[in-house]
Protein backbone atom coordinates (compact mmCIF):
# COMPACT_ATOMS: atom_id res chain seq x y z
CA UNK A 1 0.00 0.00 0.00
CA UNK A 2 1.27 3.48 -0.88
CA UNK A 3 2.15 5.54 2.23
CA UNK A 4 0.55 8.58 0.62
CA UNK A 5 -2.85 8.46 -1.06
CA UNK A 6 -2.24 11.88 -2.62
CA UNK A 7 0.99 13.61 -3.57
CA UNK A 8 1.11 16.86 -5.49
CA UNK A 9 4.16 18.79 -6.55
CA UNK A 10 3.95 22.40 -7.71
CA UNK A 11 0.43 21.86 -8.99
CA UNK A 12 -0.98 24.97 -10.66
CA UNK A 13 -3.99 25.71 -12.80
CA UNK A 14 -4.77 28.89 -14.70
CA UNK A 15 -8.11 29.91 -16.16
CA UNK A 16 -7.15 32.57 -18.67
CA UNK A 17 -5.26 35.20 -16.74
CA UNK A 18 -6.55 33.98 -13.37
CA UNK A 19 -4.39 31.54 -11.40
CA UNK A 20 -6.93 29.36 -9.57
CA UNK A 21 -4.31 27.11 -7.99
CA UNK A 22 -0.74 28.19 -7.36
CA UNK A 23 2.10 25.77 -6.83
CA UNK A 24 0.29 23.34 -4.52
CA UNK A 25 2.51 20.72 -2.92
CA UNK A 26 0.87 18.41 -0.40
CA UNK A 27 1.05 14.82 0.79
CA UNK A 28 -1.98 13.08 2.24
CA UNK A 29 -1.29 9.90 4.23
CA UNK A 30 -3.23 6.78 3.34
CA UNK A 31 -6.14 6.16 5.71
CA UNK A 32 -6.28 9.73 7.01
CA UNK A 33 -8.89 12.45 6.71
CA UNK A 34 -7.36 15.52 5.08
CA UNK A 35 -9.25 18.76 5.46
CA UNK A 36 -8.73 21.36 2.77
CA UNK A 37 -9.85 24.64 4.27
CA UNK A 38 -10.39 27.88 2.51
CA UNK A 39 -12.91 30.57 1.73
CA UNK A 40 -15.12 30.39 -1.37
CA UNK A 41 -13.11 30.70 -4.57
CA UNK A 42 -9.86 29.68 -2.87
CA UNK A 43 -9.20 26.85 -5.34
CA UNK A 44 -10.56 23.87 -3.39
CA UNK A 45 -12.94 22.57 -6.08
CA UNK A 46 -10.30 23.07 -8.78
CA UNK A 47 -7.94 20.93 -6.69
CA UNK A 48 -10.45 18.05 -6.50
CA UNK A 49 -11.06 18.29 -10.25
CA UNK A 50 -7.33 18.15 -10.90
CA UNK A 51 -6.86 15.19 -8.55
CA UNK A 52 -9.67 13.28 -10.24
CA UNK A 53 -8.10 13.98 -13.63
CA UNK A 54 -11.15 15.94 -14.77
CA UNK A 55 -8.96 18.98 -15.48
CA UNK A 56 -5.37 19.13 -16.64
CA UNK A 57 -2.90 21.23 -14.64
CA UNK A 58 -1.20 24.23 -16.21
CA UNK A 59 2.01 23.10 -14.51
CA UNK A 60 3.19 20.69 -11.85
CA UNK A 61 2.14 17.10 -11.32
CA UNK A 62 0.25 14.90 -8.92
CA UNK A 63 -0.21 11.27 -8.00
CA UNK A 64 -3.35 9.81 -6.51
CA UNK A 65 -3.28 6.26 -5.11
CA UNK A 66 0.02 5.84 -6.94
CA UNK A 67 -1.40 6.84 -10.33
CA UNK A 68 -0.52 9.92 -12.34
CA UNK A 69 -3.52 12.23 -12.61
CA UNK A 70 -2.82 13.13 -16.22
CA UNK A 71 -2.00 9.78 -17.79
CA UNK A 72 -3.85 7.37 -15.45
CA UNK A 73 -6.97 9.30 -14.52
CA UNK A 74 -9.21 6.31 -15.35
CA UNK A 75 -7.42 4.23 -12.69
CA UNK A 76 -7.91 7.01 -10.14
CA UNK A 77 -11.62 7.39 -10.88
CA UNK A 78 -12.03 3.61 -10.72
CA UNK A 79 -10.70 3.57 -7.16
CA UNK A 80 -12.24 6.82 -5.88
CA UNK A 81 -15.63 8.02 -4.78
CA UNK A 82 -16.77 11.61 -5.01
CA UNK A 83 -19.42 13.83 -3.54
CA UNK A 84 -18.82 17.00 -5.50
CA UNK A 85 -20.09 20.56 -5.34
CA UNK A 86 -23.57 19.36 -6.41
CA UNK A 87 -24.91 16.08 -5.08
CA UNK A 88 -25.25 14.66 -8.60
CA UNK A 89 -28.39 12.67 -7.81
CA UNK A 90 -30.99 11.83 -10.44
CA UNK A 91 -33.98 13.46 -8.81
CA UNK A 92 -36.57 11.71 -10.97
CA UNK A 93 -35.26 8.36 -9.75
CA UNK A 94 -35.72 6.92 -6.29
CA UNK A 95 -32.86 6.21 -3.88
CA UNK A 96 -32.50 2.56 -4.86
CA UNK A 97 -32.37 3.37 -8.58
CA UNK A 98 -29.77 6.06 -7.98
CA UNK A 99 -27.56 3.60 -6.12
CA UNK A 100 -28.42 0.75 -8.49
CA UNK A 101 -27.18 2.84 -11.42
CA UNK A 102 -23.86 3.68 -9.81
CA UNK A 103 -23.55 0.10 -8.54
CA UNK A 104 -23.80 -1.03 -12.17
CA UNK A 105 -21.35 1.70 -13.22
CA UNK A 106 -18.82 0.22 -10.77
CA UNK A 107 -19.78 -3.28 -11.88
CA UNK A 108 -20.65 -4.51 -8.42
CA UNK A 109 -22.20 -8.00 -8.86
CA UNK A 110 -26.01 -7.96 -8.52
CA UNK A 111 -26.20 -9.77 -5.16
CA UNK A 112 -23.45 -7.72 -3.55
CA UNK A 113 -25.04 -4.60 -4.97
CA UNK A 114 -28.38 -5.27 -3.31
CA UNK A 115 -26.72 -6.09 0.01
CA UNK A 116 -24.52 -3.02 -0.10
CA UNK A 117 -27.42 -0.71 -1.03
CA UNK A 118 -29.45 -2.03 1.87
CA UNK A 119 -26.51 -1.72 4.26
CA UNK A 120 -25.75 1.90 3.34
CA UNK A 121 -29.38 3.06 3.24
CA UNK A 122 -30.04 1.40 6.59
CA UNK A 123 -26.91 2.91 8.19
CA UNK A 124 -27.96 6.35 7.01
CA UNK A 125 -31.63 5.95 8.05
CA UNK A 126 -32.87 6.22 4.48
CA UNK A 127 -34.14 2.67 3.96
CA UNK A 128 -37.77 3.44 4.76
CA UNK A 129 -37.97 6.11 2.06
CA UNK A 130 -35.95 4.26 -0.55
CA UNK A 131 -38.79 4.08 -3.09
CA UNK A 132 -39.64 7.78 -3.15
CA UNK A 133 -38.28 9.98 -5.94
CA UNK A 134 -35.27 11.80 -4.55
CA UNK A 135 -36.80 15.12 -5.69
CA UNK A 136 -39.19 14.88 -2.71
CA UNK A 137 -36.39 14.56 -0.17
CA UNK A 138 -34.84 17.22 2.08
CA UNK A 139 -31.41 18.58 1.25
CA UNK A 140 -29.88 16.74 4.20
CA UNK A 141 -31.29 13.39 3.06
CA UNK A 142 -30.02 14.00 -0.46
CA UNK A 143 -26.52 14.71 0.85
CA UNK A 144 -26.62 11.46 2.84
CA UNK A 145 -27.70 9.55 -0.26
CA UNK A 146 -24.95 11.18 -2.28
CA UNK A 147 -22.48 10.09 0.38
CA UNK A 148 -23.85 6.54 0.19
CA UNK A 149 -23.37 6.65 -3.58
CA UNK A 150 -19.78 7.82 -3.17
CA UNK A 151 -19.04 4.93 -0.78
CA UNK A 152 -21.02 2.29 -2.66
CA UNK A 153 -18.08 0.61 -4.38
CA UNK A 154 -15.87 0.78 -1.27
CA UNK A 155 -13.40 3.27 -2.75
CA UNK A 156 -9.88 3.61 -1.39
CA UNK A 157 -10.20 7.39 -1.55
CA UNK A 158 -13.19 9.64 -1.04
CA UNK A 159 -13.40 13.22 -2.29
CA UNK A 160 -15.95 15.36 -0.47
CA UNK A 161 -16.53 18.91 -1.67
CA UNK A 162 -18.25 20.86 1.11
CA UNK A 163 -20.66 18.04 2.03
CA UNK A 164 -22.47 20.06 4.70
CA UNK A 165 -22.76 23.32 2.76
CA UNK A 166 -26.29 24.66 2.71
CA UNK A 167 -27.56 22.29 5.41
CA UNK A 168 -29.20 23.55 8.58
CA UNK A 169 -27.03 23.08 11.72
CA UNK A 170 -28.79 19.92 12.93
CA UNK A 171 -28.75 18.27 9.49
CA UNK A 172 -25.08 19.21 9.13
CA UNK A 173 -24.30 17.73 12.54
CA UNK A 174 -26.12 14.48 11.67
CA UNK A 175 -24.28 14.25 8.36
CA UNK A 176 -20.96 14.83 10.17
CA UNK A 177 -21.82 12.02 12.63
CA UNK A 178 -22.66 9.71 9.75
CA UNK A 179 -19.55 10.68 7.89
CA UNK A 180 -17.39 10.08 10.94
CA UNK A 181 -18.81 6.62 11.58
CA UNK A 182 -18.75 5.63 7.92
CA UNK A 183 -15.15 6.71 7.50
CA UNK A 184 -14.26 4.66 10.57
CA UNK A 185 -16.16 1.60 9.31
CA UNK A 186 -14.86 1.78 5.75
CA UNK A 187 -11.25 2.74 6.53
CA UNK A 188 -11.17 5.07 3.58
CA UNK A 189 -8.82 8.02 2.95
CA UNK A 190 -10.84 11.23 2.75
CA UNK A 191 -10.01 14.49 1.01
CA UNK A 192 -12.50 16.92 2.52
CA UNK A 193 -13.01 20.39 1.09
CA UNK A 194 -14.69 22.63 3.59
CA UNK A 195 -14.92 26.14 4.89
CA UNK A 196 -16.50 24.84 8.08
CA UNK A 197 -13.77 24.99 10.71
CA UNK A 198 -15.61 22.95 13.34
CA UNK A 199 -16.10 20.19 10.78
CA UNK A 200 -12.41 20.16 9.93
CA UNK A 201 -11.40 20.27 13.59
CA UNK A 202 -13.60 17.31 14.41
CA UNK A 203 -12.93 15.06 11.43
CA UNK A 204 -9.44 15.75 10.13
CA UNK A 205 -6.04 14.44 11.15
CA UNK A 206 -4.32 16.76 8.70
CA UNK A 207 -5.36 20.17 7.48
CA UNK A 208 -4.29 22.35 4.60
CA UNK A 209 -5.36 25.98 4.51
CA UNK A 210 -5.65 27.56 1.09
CA UNK A 211 -6.30 31.13 0.09
CA UNK A 212 -6.24 32.68 -3.37
CA UNK A 213 -5.01 29.37 -4.79
CA UNK A 214 -1.99 29.26 -2.46
CA UNK A 215 -1.44 26.83 0.38
CA UNK A 216 -0.78 29.01 3.42
CA UNK A 217 -0.53 26.27 6.07
CA UNK A 218 -0.42 22.49 6.25
CA UNK A 219 -0.19 20.16 9.22
CA UNK A 220 -1.99 18.40 12.07
CA UNK A 221 -4.64 20.54 13.83
CA UNK A 222 -2.49 20.75 16.99
CA UNK A 223 0.54 21.88 15.01
CA UNK A 224 -1.51 24.57 13.33
CA UNK A 225 -2.97 25.73 16.62
CA UNK A 226 0.49 25.92 18.14
CA UNK A 227 1.64 27.95 15.17
CA UNK A 228 -1.19 30.40 15.49
CA UNK A 229 -0.34 31.97 18.80
CA UNK A 230 1.06 31.62 22.28
CA UNK A 231 -0.82 29.79 25.02
CA UNK A 232 -3.00 31.93 27.20
CA UNK A 233 -4.17 31.81 30.81
CA UNK A 234 -7.40 33.49 31.88
CA UNK A 235 -7.62 33.99 35.64
CA UNK A 236 -10.81 35.33 37.22
CA UNK A 237 -10.74 36.65 40.78
CA UNK A 238 -10.12 39.63 43.04
CA UNK A 239 -7.18 41.40 44.66
CA UNK A 240 -4.80 41.55 41.69
CA UNK A 241 -2.49 44.36 42.81
CA UNK A 242 -0.67 46.56 40.24
CA UNK A 243 2.61 45.47 41.80
CA UNK A 244 1.77 41.80 41.34
CA UNK A 245 0.82 42.38 37.70
CA UNK A 246 4.07 44.31 37.14
CA UNK A 247 5.98 41.46 38.76
CA UNK A 248 4.21 38.94 36.49
CA UNK A 249 5.21 40.92 33.39
CA UNK A 250 8.84 40.67 34.39
CA UNK A 251 8.76 36.87 34.63
CA UNK A 252 10.52 35.18 31.66
CA UNK A 253 7.62 32.79 30.82
CA UNK A 254 5.07 35.64 30.67
CA UNK A 255 4.78 37.72 27.49
CA UNK A 256 2.02 40.03 28.69
CA UNK A 257 -0.42 40.45 31.56
CA UNK A 258 -3.61 42.50 31.22
CA UNK A 259 -6.36 43.04 33.81
CA UNK A 260 -9.96 43.79 32.75
CA UNK A 261 -12.99 43.54 35.04
CA UNK A 262 -11.49 41.07 37.52
CA UNK A 263 -10.13 38.94 34.68
CA UNK A 264 -6.38 38.68 34.36
CA UNK A 265 -5.19 37.49 30.96
CA UNK A 266 -1.67 36.16 30.68
CA UNK A 267 0.01 35.52 27.32
CA UNK A 268 2.63 32.87 27.92
CA UNK A 269 5.81 32.37 25.96
CA UNK A 270 5.30 28.62 25.69
CA UNK A 271 3.17 25.85 27.17
CA UNK A 272 4.22 26.17 30.82
CA UNK A 273 2.52 24.72 33.88
CA UNK A 274 -0.03 27.13 35.27
CA UNK A 275 0.03 25.91 38.90
CA UNK A 276 3.23 27.80 40.00
CA UNK A 277 1.88 31.07 38.54
CA UNK A 278 -1.49 30.63 40.25
CA UNK A 279 0.09 29.80 43.59
CA UNK A 280 2.42 32.84 43.28
CA UNK A 281 -0.66 35.04 42.64
CA UNK A 282 -2.43 33.58 45.69
CA UNK A 283 0.73 34.31 47.71
CA UNK A 284 0.61 37.93 46.53
CA UNK A 285 -2.88 38.30 48.05
CA UNK A 286 -5.14 37.56 45.06
CA UNK A 287 -8.34 35.53 45.51
CA UNK A 288 -8.72 33.16 42.55
CA UNK A 289 -12.16 31.95 41.45
CA UNK A 290 -11.41 30.35 38.06
CA UNK A 291 -8.42 29.52 35.89
CA UNK A 292 -8.86 28.70 32.20
CA UNK A 293 -6.06 27.51 29.96
CA UNK A 294 -7.09 28.82 26.57
CA UNK A 295 -5.86 27.22 23.39
CA UNK A 296 -6.09 28.79 19.95
CA UNK A 297 -8.94 27.33 17.98
CA UNK A 298 -8.64 26.36 14.36
CA UNK A 299 -10.72 29.41 13.65
CA UNK A 300 -8.02 31.62 15.23
CA UNK A 301 -5.44 29.85 13.10
CA UNK A 302 -7.50 30.24 9.97
CA UNK A 303 -8.28 33.90 10.57
CA UNK A 304 -4.71 34.79 11.49
CA UNK A 305 -3.35 33.05 8.39
CA UNK A 306 -5.93 34.58 6.12
CA UNK A 307 -5.36 38.05 7.61
CA UNK A 308 -1.59 37.66 7.33
CA UNK A 309 -2.02 36.75 3.72
CA UNK A 310 -4.33 39.70 3.10
CA UNK A 311 -1.87 42.08 4.73
CA UNK A 312 0.89 40.58 2.64
CA UNK A 313 -1.14 41.01 -0.53
CA UNK A 314 -2.08 44.58 0.38
CA UNK A 315 1.53 45.38 1.20
CA UNK A 316 2.69 43.88 -2.07
CA UNK A 317 0.16 45.63 -4.25
Amino acid sequence: MEPYAIKTHGLSRDFGSVRALDNLSIEVSTGSVFGFLGPNGAGKTTTIRLLLGLLEPSSGNSEVLGFDTQSQADEIRYRSGALLEHNGLYERLNAVNNLEFYGRVWRIPANDRQTRIRELLTNLDLWERRKEPVANWSRGMKQKLAMARALLHRPALLFLDEPTAGLDPSAAARLRDDLESLVEQEGVTVFLNTHNLAEAERLCQQIGIIRGGKLVANGAPNELRARAGNPQLEITGKGFSPEAIQELRSRPEVLSAELHNNKLTLQLREAVESAPLVSWLVGSGAQIEEVIKAQSSLEDVFLSLVNEDEQYLEGGS
Binding site: R77, G88, L89, V105
Partner: protein, 245 residues
Protein backbone atom coordinates in the same frame (compact mmCIF):
# COMPACT_ATOMS: atom_id res chain seq x y z
CA UNK B 1 -17.54 -1.29 -22.78
CA UNK B 2 -20.79 -2.95 -23.92
CA UNK B 3 -21.78 -3.45 -20.26
CA UNK B 4 -21.13 0.23 -19.56
CA UNK B 5 -23.19 1.30 -22.58
CA UNK B 6 -26.04 -0.90 -21.38
CA UNK B 7 -25.72 0.64 -17.90
CA UNK B 8 -26.13 4.14 -19.32
CA UNK B 9 -29.08 2.95 -21.42
CA UNK B 10 -30.63 1.37 -18.31
CA UNK B 11 -30.46 4.69 -16.47
CA UNK B 12 -31.77 6.69 -19.44
CA UNK B 13 -34.70 4.29 -19.84
CA UNK B 14 -35.52 4.54 -16.12
CA UNK B 15 -35.48 8.32 -16.27
CA UNK B 16 -37.53 8.38 -19.46
CA UNK B 17 -40.19 5.77 -18.83
CA UNK B 18 -40.46 5.22 -15.11
CA UNK B 19 -40.13 8.65 -13.62
CA UNK B 20 -40.78 11.29 -16.26
CA UNK B 21 -44.25 12.66 -16.59
CA UNK B 22 -45.78 14.91 -19.21
CA UNK B 23 -46.04 14.83 -22.96
CA UNK B 24 -42.40 15.61 -23.77
CA UNK B 25 -41.31 12.00 -23.79
CA UNK B 26 -41.81 8.65 -22.18
CA UNK B 27 -44.96 6.61 -22.39
CA UNK B 28 -47.28 9.34 -23.66
CA UNK B 29 -45.13 10.29 -26.66
CA UNK B 30 -44.60 6.64 -27.43
CA UNK B 31 -48.28 5.74 -27.29
CA UNK B 32 -49.33 8.68 -29.46
CA UNK B 33 -46.82 7.79 -32.17
CA UNK B 34 -47.75 4.10 -32.10
CA UNK B 35 -51.45 4.98 -32.33
CA UNK B 36 -50.91 7.33 -35.28
CA UNK B 37 -48.39 5.26 -37.27
CA UNK B 38 -49.52 1.82 -36.18
CA UNK B 39 -53.29 2.24 -36.32
CA UNK B 40 -54.61 5.52 -37.76
CA UNK B 41 -52.49 5.85 -40.93
CA UNK B 42 -52.74 2.15 -41.91
CA UNK B 43 -56.53 2.27 -41.45
CA UNK B 44 -56.76 5.39 -43.63
CA UNK B 45 -54.46 4.06 -46.36
CA UNK B 46 -55.65 0.45 -46.51
CA UNK B 47 -53.46 -2.25 -48.10
CA UNK B 48 -51.61 0.45 -50.05
CA UNK B 49 -49.86 1.20 -46.76
CA UNK B 50 -47.69 -1.87 -47.21
CA UNK B 51 -46.51 -1.29 -50.75
CA UNK B 52 -46.54 2.45 -51.48
CA UNK B 53 -43.02 3.97 -51.68
CA UNK B 54 -44.29 6.98 -49.67
CA UNK B 55 -44.72 4.61 -46.73
CA UNK B 56 -40.93 4.29 -46.62
CA UNK B 57 -40.62 8.07 -46.27
CA UNK B 58 -43.16 8.16 -43.46
CA UNK B 59 -41.42 5.39 -41.49
CA UNK B 60 -38.04 6.97 -42.10
CA UNK B 61 -39.32 10.33 -40.84
CA UNK B 62 -40.81 8.90 -37.62
CA UNK B 63 -37.55 8.07 -35.76
CA UNK B 64 -36.23 11.53 -36.58
CA UNK B 65 -39.12 13.13 -34.67
CA UNK B 66 -38.92 10.63 -31.82
CA UNK B 67 -35.19 10.93 -31.31
CA UNK B 68 -35.41 14.71 -31.51
CA UNK B 69 -37.92 14.72 -28.66
CA UNK B 70 -35.48 13.08 -26.21
CA UNK B 71 -31.93 13.65 -27.38
CA UNK B 72 -31.72 17.33 -26.38
CA UNK B 73 -31.81 16.12 -22.78
CA UNK B 74 -28.84 13.76 -23.14
CA UNK B 75 -26.01 16.05 -21.98
CA UNK B 76 -27.72 19.42 -21.60
CA UNK B 77 -30.19 17.80 -19.16
CA UNK B 78 -27.39 16.28 -17.09
CA UNK B 79 -25.65 19.66 -17.07
CA UNK B 80 -28.83 21.52 -16.14
CA UNK B 81 -29.65 19.12 -13.30
CA UNK B 82 -26.02 19.13 -12.05
CA UNK B 83 -25.54 15.38 -12.52
CA UNK B 84 -22.94 15.60 -15.28
CA UNK B 85 -19.84 16.19 -13.14
CA UNK B 86 -20.58 13.20 -10.90
CA UNK B 87 -21.08 11.03 -13.99
CA UNK B 88 -17.79 12.28 -15.45
CA UNK B 89 -16.05 11.60 -12.13
CA UNK B 90 -17.10 7.94 -12.31
CA UNK B 91 -15.07 5.09 -13.80
CA UNK B 92 -17.00 5.22 -17.08
CA UNK B 93 -14.90 5.94 -20.13
CA UNK B 94 -15.62 8.82 -22.51
CA UNK B 95 -16.66 6.35 -25.22
CA UNK B 96 -19.01 4.46 -22.92
CA UNK B 97 -20.81 7.62 -21.79
CA UNK B 98 -21.10 9.01 -25.32
CA UNK B 99 -22.12 5.69 -26.89
CA UNK B 100 -24.59 5.03 -24.08
CA UNK B 101 -26.29 8.37 -24.70
CA UNK B 102 -26.32 7.82 -28.48
CA UNK B 103 -27.61 4.26 -28.23
CA UNK B 104 -30.33 5.30 -25.78
CA UNK B 105 -31.67 7.90 -28.20
CA UNK B 106 -31.44 5.50 -31.16
CA UNK B 107 -33.07 2.68 -29.19
CA UNK B 108 -35.95 4.95 -28.21
CA UNK B 109 -36.56 6.30 -31.73
CA UNK B 110 -35.98 3.10 -33.65
CA UNK B 111 -37.58 0.89 -31.02
CA UNK B 112 -40.87 2.80 -31.15
CA UNK B 113 -40.68 2.81 -34.95
CA UNK B 114 -40.39 -0.99 -34.94
CA UNK B 115 -43.29 -1.33 -32.50
CA UNK B 116 -45.34 0.97 -34.73
CA UNK B 117 -44.33 -1.10 -37.76
CA UNK B 118 -45.53 -4.30 -36.12
CA UNK B 119 -48.70 -2.47 -34.99
CA UNK B 120 -49.40 -1.34 -38.55
CA UNK B 121 -49.01 -4.92 -39.81
CA UNK B 122 -51.47 -6.14 -37.19
CA UNK B 123 -53.92 -3.32 -38.07
CA UNK B 124 -53.74 -4.02 -41.83
CA UNK B 125 -54.13 -7.75 -41.31
CA UNK B 126 -57.11 -7.30 -38.99
CA UNK B 127 -58.77 -4.74 -41.29
CA UNK B 128 -57.93 -6.20 -44.67
CA UNK B 129 -56.35 -9.59 -44.16
CA UNK B 130 -59.37 -11.79 -44.90
CA UNK B 131 -57.53 -14.89 -43.71
CA UNK B 132 -54.41 -14.12 -45.69
CA UNK B 133 -51.24 -12.74 -44.01
CA UNK B 134 -50.35 -9.41 -45.59
CA UNK B 135 -46.74 -8.20 -45.35
CA UNK B 136 -44.48 -5.49 -46.77
CA UNK B 137 -42.80 -6.34 -50.09
CA UNK B 138 -39.22 -7.39 -49.12
CA UNK B 139 -37.55 -4.33 -50.71
CA UNK B 140 -39.94 -1.93 -48.97
CA UNK B 141 -39.60 -3.74 -45.63
CA UNK B 142 -35.82 -3.73 -45.85
CA UNK B 143 -35.75 -0.07 -46.88
CA UNK B 144 -37.95 0.88 -43.93
CA UNK B 145 -35.76 -1.00 -41.45
CA UNK B 146 -32.49 0.31 -42.84
CA UNK B 147 -33.47 3.92 -43.47
CA UNK B 148 -35.34 4.33 -40.20
CA UNK B 149 -32.28 3.03 -38.33
CA UNK B 150 -29.87 5.31 -40.18
CA UNK B 151 -32.15 8.30 -39.67
CA UNK B 152 -32.51 7.52 -35.96
CA UNK B 153 -28.71 7.46 -35.82
CA UNK B 154 -28.54 10.74 -37.76
CA UNK B 155 -30.95 12.47 -35.37
CA UNK B 156 -29.15 11.02 -32.33
CA UNK B 157 -25.74 12.12 -33.64
CA UNK B 158 -26.90 15.64 -34.41
CA UNK B 159 -28.80 15.85 -31.14
CA UNK B 160 -25.91 14.67 -28.99
CA UNK B 161 -23.51 17.16 -30.61
CA UNK B 162 -25.98 19.99 -30.01
CA UNK B 163 -26.68 18.79 -26.46
CA UNK B 164 -22.95 18.58 -25.66
CA UNK B 165 -22.59 22.28 -26.43
CA UNK B 166 -25.90 23.60 -25.12
CA UNK B 167 -26.08 25.22 -21.71
CA UNK B 168 -29.68 24.12 -21.17
CA UNK B 169 -32.18 21.61 -22.53
CA UNK B 170 -34.26 24.48 -23.86
CA UNK B 171 -31.34 25.86 -25.84
CA UNK B 172 -30.62 22.39 -27.26
CA UNK B 173 -34.27 21.95 -28.25
CA UNK B 174 -34.37 25.34 -29.95
CA UNK B 175 -31.21 24.60 -31.93
CA UNK B 176 -32.53 21.18 -32.94
CA UNK B 177 -35.87 22.67 -34.01
CA UNK B 178 -34.01 25.08 -36.28
CA UNK B 179 -32.01 22.20 -37.73
CA UNK B 180 -35.20 20.24 -38.23
CA UNK B 181 -36.72 23.16 -40.13
CA UNK B 182 -33.60 23.50 -42.26
CA UNK B 183 -33.65 19.79 -43.20
CA UNK B 184 -37.27 19.92 -44.28
CA UNK B 185 -37.00 23.31 -45.99
CA UNK B 186 -36.83 21.76 -49.50
CA UNK B 187 -40.14 19.95 -48.92
CA UNK B 188 -41.76 23.09 -47.52
CA UNK B 189 -40.40 25.20 -50.37
CA UNK B 190 -41.61 22.90 -53.14
CA UNK B 191 -45.17 24.28 -53.31
CA UNK B 192 -43.78 27.82 -53.45
CA UNK B 193 -41.70 27.18 -56.59
CA UNK B 194 -42.89 28.60 -59.96
CA UNK B 195 -45.28 26.21 -61.73
CA UNK B 196 -42.82 25.15 -64.45
CA UNK B 197 -39.96 24.48 -62.07
CA UNK B 198 -42.20 22.62 -59.67
CA UNK B 199 -43.44 20.29 -62.44
CA UNK B 200 -39.88 19.59 -63.59
CA UNK B 201 -38.73 18.80 -60.04
CA UNK B 202 -41.75 16.55 -59.42
CA UNK B 203 -41.19 14.74 -62.74
CA UNK B 204 -37.51 14.29 -61.98
CA UNK B 205 -38.31 12.82 -58.57
CA UNK B 206 -41.02 10.52 -59.97
CA UNK B 207 -38.62 9.25 -62.62
CA UNK B 208 -36.05 8.16 -60.04
CA UNK B 209 -35.20 4.50 -59.69
CA UNK B 210 -36.60 3.96 -56.17
CA UNK B 211 -34.30 1.07 -55.37
CA UNK B 212 -31.15 2.84 -56.54
CA UNK B 213 -32.20 6.06 -54.81
CA UNK B 214 -32.75 4.14 -51.58
CA UNK B 215 -29.30 2.55 -51.82
CA UNK B 216 -27.62 5.90 -52.52
CA UNK B 217 -29.56 7.56 -49.70
CA UNK B 218 -28.62 4.77 -47.28
CA UNK B 219 -24.96 5.00 -48.27
CA UNK B 220 -25.02 8.77 -47.86
CA UNK B 221 -26.70 8.49 -44.46
CA UNK B 222 -24.21 5.88 -43.30
CA UNK B 223 -21.25 8.09 -44.21
CA UNK B 224 -22.89 11.11 -42.59
CA UNK B 225 -23.75 9.12 -39.45
CA UNK B 226 -20.18 7.88 -39.05
CA UNK B 227 -18.93 11.45 -39.54
CA UNK B 228 -21.32 12.64 -36.83
CA UNK B 229 -20.13 9.92 -34.48
CA UNK B 230 -16.51 10.95 -35.02
CA UNK B 231 -17.41 14.61 -34.52
CA UNK B 232 -19.24 13.81 -31.27
CA UNK B 233 -16.26 11.77 -30.05
CA UNK B 234 -13.93 14.71 -30.75
CA UNK B 235 -16.27 17.11 -29.02
CA UNK B 236 -16.55 14.97 -25.88
CA UNK B 237 -13.75 16.39 -23.74
CA UNK B 238 -14.24 15.99 -19.99
CA UNK B 239 -12.43 19.21 -19.07
CA UNK B 240 -14.52 21.23 -21.51
CA UNK B 241 -17.74 19.64 -20.27
CA UNK B 242 -16.81 20.39 -16.65
CA UNK B 243 -15.88 24.00 -17.31
CA UNK B 244 -18.96 24.69 -19.44
CA UNK B 245 -21.23 23.84 -16.53
Amino acid sequence: MITDIITIMWKEARELFLQRSGLRGGWMGMLIMIAVFGVLFPLQSGVEWLSAPTTVLLWAWLPFILVNSVVADSFAGERERHTLETLLASRLSDRAILSGKLCSAIAYGWGITLIGLVGSLVTINIAHGAGEFLFFPPVIGLAILLLSFLIAWLAAGLGVIVSLRATSVRQAQQTLSLGFLFLFLPLLALPLLPEGLRVSVTNALSGLDIQMTGIILAAFLLVFDVALLLAATRRFVRARLILNQ
